[in-house]
């Protein structure tokens, strides 16, 4: 009976699928959903119906997790919506290359060097903090094949 058995979970890494279906009624605020083919964080959810004896429809308002653009959609509550696989992982910043690529170390010690310094103020602060010799943790957001540093945290004492 459980719908979960019918659902194929793919890890985002396998490259096979970047989303999976989930019934609209099971979505929740602060969770993720695809709106207009963009991965979004759900910031508002409300229901309505057509006619007094009609069935519920879910009205979703989401913010694109990469561009911060606002999207809306409406869907019968029994239908499925696509949910993006979203990963938000912390890495330790070890170096910045001359061409602005970051050296990032994962928890297990693996190093990756395929991400650039983020644009805008975050990038400027990242550069400044790094130059000042601060230890930095970078949060990397990954969904639908896009990947970008969205937050930094100066690593004080006891963070893992």
């Amino acid at each position: 009976m459980a719908d979960i058995e019918d659902t194929h979970f793919e890890t985002g890494d396998s490259g096979a699928s970047v989303t999976y279906p989930q019934q609209c009624s099971a979505l929740r605020k602060n969770g993720f959903v695809m709106l207009k083919s963009r991965p979004c964080k759900i910031v508002e959810m409300s229901t309505s119906k057509t006619g007094k004896h009609g069935h519920a429809k879910v009205h979703l308002v989401g913010i694109d997790i990469f561009t911060s653009k606002k999207y809306e959609d409406i869907c019968p509550s029994t239908h499925n919506m696509d949910v993006p696989f979203v990963k938000r992982e912390d890495y330790q910043l070890t170096d910045i290359s001359d061409d602005n690529y970051l050296s990032l170390m994962a928890d297990n010690g693996d190093i990756r060097e395929d991400l650039k310094i983020p644009d805008g103020e975050l990038g400027i602060q990242l550069r400044a903090d790094f130059d000042a010799g601060k230890e930095l943790l970078c949060t990397v957001l990954k969904a639908c094949g896009e990947e970008v540093v969205i937050a930094i945290k100066t690593n004080t004492a006891l963070d893992k």
Partner: protein
Amino acid sequence: MADQVLAELEAAAQVILAPPNLITGQQRQSAETVFLNFRKTKSPYQLCREILERSSVDYVLFESAGLIKSALIREWVMMQDEDIRSLRQYLLHYIISKPQLAPFVRERILQVIAIMVKRGSVEDLGRDRGQILNEVEGLIMTGDLRRQLLGCSIISALMQEYATTVKSSDVGLAWEVHFKAKKQFEISDLKRIFKFCFGALGELTKEEIQEALLPLIKHLLSITEGVLVWGYVSPHLPKRLIGVFESAYESDSSPALRLGPMWRDVILDPNVLDLFFTLYWKVRTNPQLAHHARNCLVQLATLNGLVIESGEVETQYLTSYLQSFLKLVSNIDVIDQEAIGISNMVRKVITFFRATLTSLPEDILRSFMEQMTRLTCLFAEGAAQEESMCADDCLYMEAFEHLLEAWIIVLSEAQLFPSEFCKQSSAQIFNTYLSCHLAPPDGNRGAGGKELNDEEIDATEENDRDKFKEQLQTIGNFGRQVPGHSLPLLARLLEDRTNRLSGQLNRMADQSQPMSISSSSLVEALYEDIHWLVLLAGHVLCMDSEGEVALVPSEIMRYSMDQTQQGQVNVETTMRLLASPQNSLSDIDGAEQSADHVIRLISAVFRLCQLEKIAISANLTNMLSPELSSSIVWFLHRWSLSYLLPIESFYSEISTTILQAFGADTPGALWTVSFLLEKIECNINVFKGEPNLIKETMRLLITLVESQIKSDCVLKSGRLCNLVNLATKDRFDLPQAAKRGLMRTLVQIGTAVQDPSSKQQYWAQTLQPLDERFKQLTGSSNFAQTYHQEQIRLGIIDVLESFVGVTQGVQGPVAEGVFERITPVLNELPNLLSLYHNYQEIVQLILELFCECTRRMLCYLPQGDSIRIYEICLRTIQTYARCNTNRTTVENTAEEDTFQDILLLMQLLTNLLTKEIIDCSHTEPAGNPEQNVSPVNVFLFGLNIIMPLMTMDLLKFPSLCLEYFKMITFVCEIHPEKVFDLPVELLSQLLASVELGLFSFGHEITILCCDIIQVLAKHIYTEGRKGRPKNQLMAPFMNLLMNLILSRQINSDLISSTSIPLYYLICCYQEQYQQLVQSFLAAQTDPRIAERLTAAFVQLTACIELDTERPQRLRFRDNFDKFIVNVQGFLMVK
């Protein structure tokens, strides 16, 4: 000089009144400055007279009148009587001699005159006012219409000025003085005004009313109305209550006409009622006049007080009122606008004369009841029509509801009336209401032209059972007056509609082609019919029971017993009917003739449930109506509260039929519980996308386990296993409400399991699966790598939701047991939070789980367990802080996210602190004091961690702001000493927030901040008395508060909340207070103002000891109120 001022003002007025595109912002601003300065002119009377004489610009005239008003209020005490009188005389003649004056200028000048009369009357006890009234009456008698109207305007202005006291502090008088003036006016002049107007109206309306006199009649009527709605408040009521009366005066619902003996000769004069009813008859089609005339009649229906000296007088008055009323309503066709007024007359008569009604002559009482019934039905139909037209005005709906209110009183004293009166009326109104809600041909729903349509309806819109709650309750009451009529009627209609629906659904199942529009609207209409029938059945069979034990209504109980006694019931047939919802009634032999009507109606709803189940299994779910389903579940919920497993000792008499069907230890009860559980499971599985229906379903489920006896029945029902499966298995598709509600139910059932080994077994069956799932998810060796995976994360969310449900179901007796079982999981959560800190859903779920834990369980837990909770909570808070400090993010939902998190953290802290005052664990404190951890220390430790994350920006979220200040108030109230021991930085941040809170975030927060200041100052004072060094931390608040008050930055409604904190501060810091006063005085440039201010400050603390004792505090509060009125009267604010 006046020339120059006048020229300047007129030029400025031109700028201000010019169209915005013709002048610059700067021009406008400087023009405004001209007037702002003008308003501050001192002793402006001569100047203003000149302006009034010479200017022809209305705006300038208006401003001049305003200036006179404010100067008068400020300077009254310093003015000579002679000057005042001549000014007033001047103004009076001014308006009399200038008939062309713009109305708004005239009104303003009238107000000034009225204020002068009122202020003067405080000193001369109304002598002067009497003379003015003589003059005014003279004006009205002149026969010159313009003068007559002016006379009326003066009376109106006077009445307006005297009418309210609590809100008229702007005239520079203390409330007591206002109130005294009002009473004095009431006694000496109000009756005179009434008599005068009554006389004049009588003269003017003796013959046909002349068109030209209508304005005068209208004015006189409105004055009379003013006298009749006047709040004749007893002087013995406290100020606050008087304020309530006076604000009611301003709104629609006027206070009753409560008069003293001095009014006997006027109001009991039979000509009064006669005149007003006749007058209404004549003007009822004139909307301008009819409204006032109707209000007079409504007020006359509320006559009470010492004016009525005996029962006979009362009966006599009521008799003549009703005779006139009946004459009126039986000879007119009610027009839309008068429905509310007429319903109010009936409602007020019933409310104010309920005891006298039965001593009326029988023919009058009978006619009155008949008319009341007729009007109720008429208004019900009108209301239905309005509904179906989606009319903006709900005139009939309101009128109908007023009459229902009247009926509630009648029904509650039904025994006083001849019994057939109430029964006939009840049946008649019940039938009318029913037919208003049924589709043709049985009813006339949609008579207004608009049937159900396909509008978009927001889920937050009220449903019918909330929207029409009061109506439905009263209609249910009517139904119970005539159960022999209403129960079989409802049952038959329901059975009929269920059969028809079944037929329609069958047709849909058969034909695989798409549904035609006509058949779909047919089904819609059926749904609407059934929906209303179910709502009515629920209200006839059950009463609302919020906050009390739900009982089967005595009328229903009696009726069920009567049927048995009269041999109409075959119990066996009745049970067969109940137990076979799959069959229709006609399939059961003898059911039509000999089934108990109560059970028949209940089983009609069960049949409906069965039909839904069949439709669902035939894949017709999307043809069903979630709205109807939710009404059905609502019925089942309401019904099971009282009928299912009734507790015999609550009843003085009990129907054996009901007992046999649903009593304890009967197969009927067990069958019913299983039936309901099956329905619940079905809804959860099928309607998971319908939030309202799921919510209603969960309420039903919780009701089924609310008591020991019901829980036992659920345990025996054989369906527990399904519930456990639904609740504990991975079900990512279930909505949150179902997830939590299911687990909550299971834990609540656990309370009913008594014997220890069964209990162990029960928890093993219900809680263990969750525990295992959690371990399975988090315990695997590579969890540190896999935790990011969607599947794992969904699993974690799912199991956390269930744990939230667990804590929500915890009640005292099982708290320790449940805690024991879930501690290992709770213990893991800080680590889990650290791991998932980038996933807000999980972070918030963890915080929410702790909030629930501390809210529902902590108070029952003994010391040892509590300490474990504190420890885990603090670790969680620390982890949260560690993950979120020094973090910069580009996400633009970040602030909103933080707001939600911090709100939860605040709630968590507040819950922890609550243990300090609510502790039901009955455990002795541990012998070793080191093991005693007090909640307040835990709280402060946590606060210390969170405060750095709190920014002033976050306080702009109203809910967070409120939660924050409530929390701080709470801790200051219970442990002020601990607050002062906080680390300096934290303490100053806290006090800075209080300072900001005083004037930045609205009323509620200001009051909380005043409370905080008060308790902290009080603490400092008491410590000082004990000889401890005085803490200077609160001293700046004295200055701040005083400044805010004097500069009117604190709203006048809130001033009273500031007096006691200020008093405590003054007690603490007496020397600083003196300095503060000196600096205020030194800042005054005008010596006369400085003098008055000095006097005011002296009076403020005169005869008051600064010892914080209650009598002194109260005295200070009274002085402070006077101080404020006084000072704000003369102190100009920049």
